[in-house]
Amino acid sequence: MKKFWSIGGGLLAVSLMASSAAIAQTTLTMWTFLDINAKGGRNAALKQMISDFEAVNPDIKVKVEPQVWSTLAEKFVLGSNAGNAPDIGWVNSENLGFIMNSDAAADLKPLVLDGWSDQQKQDFLLNSSFSAVTDGDAVKAMPLLPSTWVLMYRKDLFDAAGLTPTDVATWDGVTKAAKLLTKDTNGDGQNDVWGIGLGLSQERFSVTPAFLATVDGNGGIFDDSCKATFDNDAGRAAVTMQVDWIDKDKVTPREALAMSSDDAIDQFAAGRYAMMIIANSRYEQIQRTAAGWDGSHLAIAPVPGTNAGKPGPALLVGWWAVQWSKSPNQEAAAKFISYMSGLDGAKLWNVPGEQIPTYRSVAERPEMSDPVRQGLRVTSEILANSGVLMPGKCNWGRTQADFNLATQQVILGQATLEDALRQAEQATNDRQ
């Protein structure tokens, strides 16, 4: 009997040790710009997501390695070339070209998408976005945090000037409204509030009206082979519009030439501009940091169109998850990507992450009716009505800077409109 207990006890101990070794046998590494130890809705959402995932999958641990957002795609591809990329990486839309033109990313169709039920697929709002990341039959990335650019404006100034959002439904309307809104409020001979803000620097740039107007008027900026095609009437009209705002209409300060997108957003929050094209993800930040005006007057309108009756393009961009093609943990990595992009993940990205819902059922939750999510609701509607995808294979990450340079060169007399746009197009083509 004693021998029985000894052997039985020994076997139990061995099996317990073996099972504990089985638990936590896979550690996934993920590169993202989020930091789960920092404050903020998205960070909290990811932290909760990892905690929930690990509870359901005790044999998988997720290790987050925060990275600088602007170089995530490059580092992922370089890491893959060197044989030490993380299991999962995050890539922004503008840099999908790195993923689509390399063998760094695994095909997520068999690993993730084929595991989705028909109901989940029907509930998912971003099915069309897969066209940007599909190469043949392979799907190279999963959308996580969609975002877009919208026209943000100050409702208090609009009300005072008798303007409504329909007045700024076209770029011509924006110009007229901007003239009304540009004011010298203290009579010192200098404008204190400008009609529309721009950040035209070539560093820390973002999408500007000229870029959006070109995409709208031209039906995109690339042909099927990723050759840039904006050195034409649509491109010239769009750049001329920005040039005129500064030179002729005087509704944008000349300082815009030296401002980054962040500088211009700071100025908008400081009450210096009445309107500006800004990424929707900045809505809450601007409301919070508004100085000299009540942030609750911040409002969102669709991107103005070139022609009346049709809104401008709401570029569907944001963050995507990719899986390293040579990851030794293919199955576990796919499982976590599926979780992050699935319904449970989407709920957390929405609240507390404060991100645009990616599932219909998430968008219809009572939480979305909360007045604090007004910006998210409006942006979701804009995306649903006028969302436009940029081709994932084409490198357009710096084309906005090319438009900025073209605008600057024309204003400074360093190039004619035709030459400036031709150079911008050439610069974009050189990056393909």
Binding site: V77, A258, Q414, A427
Partner: protein
Amino acid sequence: MFSSEKFTPYRLVGLAVLVELGFVIVPLVIGFWYSVNRVQFFQIRSFTGFDNYWRVLTSPSVANALAVTVTFSVISLVLTFVIGFGLAMWLERSNRLNGVMQAVVLIPYMIAMLVGSMLLKWVFSKESGLSDLVLAPMGMGDVSILADPETAMAALVYNAVWRDSAFAMIMLLAGLKSIPGHLQLAARVDGASAWYRFRRITLPLLQVPIFITMIRLFIHLVNTLTYPLILTGGGPGTSTETVVLKMYRLGFNDNVLGQANALAIMVFIVNIALVAVLLRLFKKAGNIQ
């Protein structure tokens, strides 16, 4: 076998050679290999020979960057040197006030380059900076320093002079301190004026430190990235886009690593030439001593 004395020199220099090999030669060879290939999205696509070099050499934007670099480097060099020399002459005498002044002058040099340029960007910014407070009362409220090509270049030069004058001062002060005091005293006894002593004693004996300072400054100014990247972003337009900023953009923004490395190799050759001049000066200094 390797413990014998005849291998001692090899053991002593071996580590240095390995470090040099790992951190200079290997990257240089890789850089050269990239420069003769078409590199797209960090993947080598095809061998292109010297096509990247030709493209860089015939690129109008690189030609513009070269002109900007020469303008910026030469003006900055002259002003930095003159101010640094002036400060060194002024602060040569050792007393309490000069000690405090030396510390004050050194402050911009002690501040991290990046932080200094960011501070100046705020100062020169019209919308939120201090410059408008100074310029507006003088009827120049419309002047936007960083949005005008000429004033943006002036701001860039100011950034360099503001920070690097202290470096010039340190180098030249060391040179001044090394001039034997009895030479100046003897000249005074002989009735030589201050200007005469400066021309006939100080300047000739400072010849080597002056050249070394100028070459060292020139190498720094030609290669500096922080000032144009942070302060002006190369703008407005391409008015302040230097060769190094262009190289950075080709490599890290445009991701055309082939062209970026071709430009880098050419800048490297220029640097080697400047270093060769510097080494000759050091050799000359050694001979004098």
